[in-house]
Symmetry: T
Subunit: 154 residues, 12 copies
């Protein structure tokens, strides 16, 4: 996918519920990298290749639906970590389908090692790809893939 | 059910998440009728038979719960298209049960032709009736049924 | 779908097993409208918009299969209440597929409030739309929808 | 239930598909008693206590539905061996519910010793009682129970 | 099965847990016939045809297992209403298999109309026949069948 | 199996519901061979090897049950394509078991590529063999196999 | 429920299998409170509000059934910790239903954190309420609730 | 758990969706106690033992997630009635896990007597304990347990 | 595990329901070895290696629970054939867990060749090891293993 | 499919594990025809119609995958009896998909009469057709079908 | 089974994938006994009683199938630890059935304490017996049983 | 994980069955990159950061098991695309567990969009992380992650 619109190539990064706590709680488990730092790295990496990143986080499903709808026509790719909404939100799934923006699904932990209900995702069968268990590197791997798809990185 | 209270007969129409996009996206699939136009038709049809319609849409489950609670004692019938919440929201189900207002469930598309998880509804066993696959006509069919039930149309 | 053949637009209404008893038994539950009256209303409504209705009822699955086959090339739309055959007849499903006539599925009662085995239909995933729980009004709603599809009603 | 109508107490005995072969095939398994003999015994036993029996058999589901409908108002109790239809016929189930005549379900063989699909019956949860595995004596046991219910036998 | 041993033909009637309360509690539901009266009727009917009945009741699974083991070589047929043990006791099932005495399973109520867990029996696939829903008449029907099998009644 | 009765070896070919439409509808899918032509080929092939074929088709389950019963003692082998009844008819299964005539099950299409409910057959575990997906050649393959079994073809 | 019979208000506390070991084994897990101490606290609390407590424990299902039957007419409320019988005893469930005494179900540990088979209880759908995971305080909470229901505590 | 921080011991009480209607609707079912009165009782009981209660209610899942996050480091124990969110909210479950505050789950009604989907809770396997069916007393029982755990009540 | 207490090393052998019949019934199937002979062999083998065996059998679940509880502190290893209780007794499972004595599970027959309900054991996931299908040799194999674990046999 | 390449039409016949034993073991069950004889017949029949057959057998899944890959561009049709790999080999399924050669699936026995795990095939939904239960004739029937598809036989 | 052929009694011991690592990895878990030592013990024990042992190990399913086929007529009993193939190999199951040599299934660990997919074995229902959890002693117990069956050990 | 052994850091890349065909078949779907090119890129990227890559492919499960065993002590991290073995090979899973080398699971396509049986992996719950749907970039993303874990890339 070569992005050739007049505006700059744009990527929306969506963090689901409770991810605002990243790095500030249980650093021995999740590491001490905060969500702000994760986003900062993504901004830098994208900027380096001529793309813009907007990153949002919300604990409110409706807010995420609204934000995805607003991305229509303004965003080329979405990187989403739906967190708890992975397993419960058809509304966000439908919003992604409605705006028809390709997206990559990312999970920090390996969801296959957790409770059975976390093995099902309402997103994976609609995603371009899925990455889990790589920690914050998962976001960067998704971003590099997206940049390649947008012909901004080889 | 003959409505005989001092106020006018009132019907609440509820549109669930992503339905605000109706008519503006993928018109070749969903048609070019917008949600505003759907509501306008329902207003006109109801007014013709002496009933008032209020129509709301939200992508936020909590907003819909609040609105249903507020309808208690002020609304005689509800027509609801829960969209994605059809399959995930016990809270809206419980709100409808709490206010004890009869309701008809409407879906624009035929949910039986879609993903398996869309075959289950948290609303159908509490609804008076269910209509799916008729597009915007589904709302009108529901409204005509409701008007009959309210003895406003024969 | 605009019907433009030389013959008049034709709609076949099919009532499944035990519906011949409608209106004559348990009127406090199912109402006192008989099947003949339902059909009469449908005839009148169709005639008013330039379409012909033929309505049949049978308790024999084979008779319904034969009748659907015979409709090939002579009927533009089918409205069917398969009743008990909803849950057991692949043969009628296959007949509908073989003649390739679009159809609307109607149920008088809300099947989602009844026994679990009534929650599955062999017809819904092939139907254009499904209506349940509206009583005899369900047939009329289906007919209005069909007339619209045939550009005979707006 | 004391039967006090002007007509004689009447019991309808229904034999489902393939039961017409009883006694004429595999007598080492099913015994050499024919269906005619079974019916004769039931007639005699009923007559002895002042009740009339009509016994029918059909391999056609629709015929059985028609016959049950026709029994409305003329029959006080039904004894039914649905045979293969036990596991497949919602239409006969619905006919029995429509005429609202109490019935006893009988099976010659012990269906719990046969294929898994024979363990589910569409009739048992609507029946007054169920008897299986007693061979032709099962019909007689059902008849004695029915005669007691009709206060014709103690 | 013709019983030709030197002792009298013997039938063991087993009543499972809580059946000792029969007739003394909730007579509007279960009738006012007590278990003693049921047993008395069975004794009389058996005696009339030259057979002996022993009837026991226990709320203790182990007691029933012991009693069935003791019946080996002394009892020709068992009539058992396992009551709650129907759904939980492999031990009684195994005891019946060990002594290899044919048995008829009886339930007073129609277990198909009750909780789902009552639809499975550990006994039915080993029983000669199963009777349910006929109330105390179920025991008598079982006894008549057993007497026939023993060539004591025609 | 060597057929040595006084009459000619006889094979019954049974076509289930909707197969009467073969070749006349959707020829691009099912080919333009009609059922009459299929039967003609089977007649010719059988006659060539000294066997008689009778071929029937019905949309009525009861008719097929009746016809199978009538074949008892007059038919040596059955070739059956139960079509939609494959998945719903215990009555035809039981009829085949009752007359105890060996049979081969044939399906024109590959049922494993279709809806999930078509993956279960009430016939396959009782059939000698099963053929699907070979189109009309499936019938001929079944016939050649049957002729071999009857020692009429090598 | 106000208890107004001539005898004192009476509460039966039932402890299921292995609870006799409470406090004497693995005190680091279950605490060092013995069953006798638990019962003593309940006696004191009940006495303080004018009610009598009888507390029993058994490893024998039949003993518990017998005891519940004997409570009929003599006990106003039951507090039961069925322990292992929670998941296996229909007989105790039936005994509680037969005597029709309201009961509260108590578990010392949180059964939702244990093996899957412990997530199903044969008692919960018949209980007035269920308490788990509170340790011995669970019994006291149940008793306070029962005393309130009996209008002995506010 | 002895609370020894400089601030007062603090307990957060969370009421899920539709609980704001408590006491004002269907008082014959749920009683006439309002949520405000329930909270008032809890405040009084806590204050009596030196603890502070904050009670919140919301129909919005996101609001509850936000509030739980904000409790981190400020609250010692949570008492939560997730109501409809019991069965659908992984986000609230995750928030509770993230702040790592022990909690007791409370339900006013006995959820085991209601629809099957209410038998599963996303909270019970993470809760310290679960109480259901005791009505408003359930909250008080939970509070007494929490006060004991905090060594504020014996 | 080296047994070094002052008393002799002790092993408890538990035989579940109906095993008292071993060798006396159906010897062509189960062999003619009686339970007494099995126990005698185990006594001899244990004595030879300096260990004491106590062997018990009961058809009463409660008796087995009591006996296991009594073994606490007096028995080093248990060999148990729970027979029918394998599939139904959580109480015995819990008793074994409570006394925390390691145990080996033995079945005379190969339970994997029997009814499906015999494929699940409430004991296997708590056992050290499981042996089935070896007949009486299974007990001896278990005993040799236990003696090794107790350093009494190499 | 008319084969018009410069090379001769080529058919690959694949026999899965244990089929090398055909005819040499249990001839009373599987007949005395050896795999060599089966292949010889297929060679002769193919040669007669101008096609070449190569037949292979292996007990090694990897060998079959390698061989199928090697067939790419050199084989026009595959006839495969995957034997035990029918139920376990996704690798062979994928190899067949990768080379995109149409294939017919053959089983000597009727797999629907065998263990439940044999009812599922990883091949049937990708095969052109499936034949089972016809013994060695199944291979010949498949070959005739393939020859027809290649316009080499009519 | 008394072995009376001219050759010596022969037993084949089969170790499945990854068992070649036994004793060399994680000795704290699996012990320090190597597979060679296990085999040496079995050789010694067999030789002592006049039987020959051949022991093989492979990580290749096809190699094991080949080896089992080759054992036909040369081996009297098989002891097999299928390891990972326990849960996936129908081919080895079929090979064992084809050669019709009785076998005992052995697992070093208690598979009932491991992942759910390890609870199903493709071998157990065909095995004479199954032993798990006894470590290397499991092989010796199997060998002693086999020697007894061959009348070489008492 | 900082690699500090005397040898160079080593990474094993494993490609499962049919991946040898990558790039040479259906390039419009899978792209025209061959497996050799994928490996070349990985070699280059690893070399750039001071690590060695060995890459292997096999269609034989046993070969992969052997190779993983041989990696013990010589390889620091494994990147594996098990392809078809993802869903069927417990042996490879066990080999990975036995050598205890951390691994990342990679799939070229998004397995969540394919057949249901591809949604289960025998590897994911043991993997450090899982990547699917990113095509060859998936391998590179895994390698970058591994290099980071080995402190060779930041």
């Amino acid at each position: 996918m070569t992005v050739s619109s007049s505006r700059d190539p744009a990527i929306l990064v969506i963090h689901g519920p409770n991810l605002n706590l990243l790095g500030t709680r249980e650093p021995q488990i999740y590491g001490s990298t905060t969500l702000a730092e994760v986003n900062q790295e993504l901004h830098a990496l994208a900027a380096e290749h001529g793309a813009q990143i907007e990153a949002i986080q919300s604990n409110h499903e409706g807010v995420l639906v609204d934000r995805i709808q607003a991305a229509s026509g303004k965003v080329d790719y979405i990187i989403i970590n739906p967190a708890a909404f992975t397993h419960t939100s058809v509304a966000i799934r439908d919003a992604l389908a409605a705006v028809n923006i390709p997206f990559v699904e990312v999970h920090l932990s390996n969801i296959h090692q957790r409770e059975t209900f976390r093995h099902h995702s309402y997103f994976s069968d609609r995603a371009v790809g899925v990455i889990c268990g790589l920690g914050p590197e998962g976001y960067r791997a998704a971003l590099r893939f997206v940049l390649q798809k947008m012909s901004l990185w080889t």
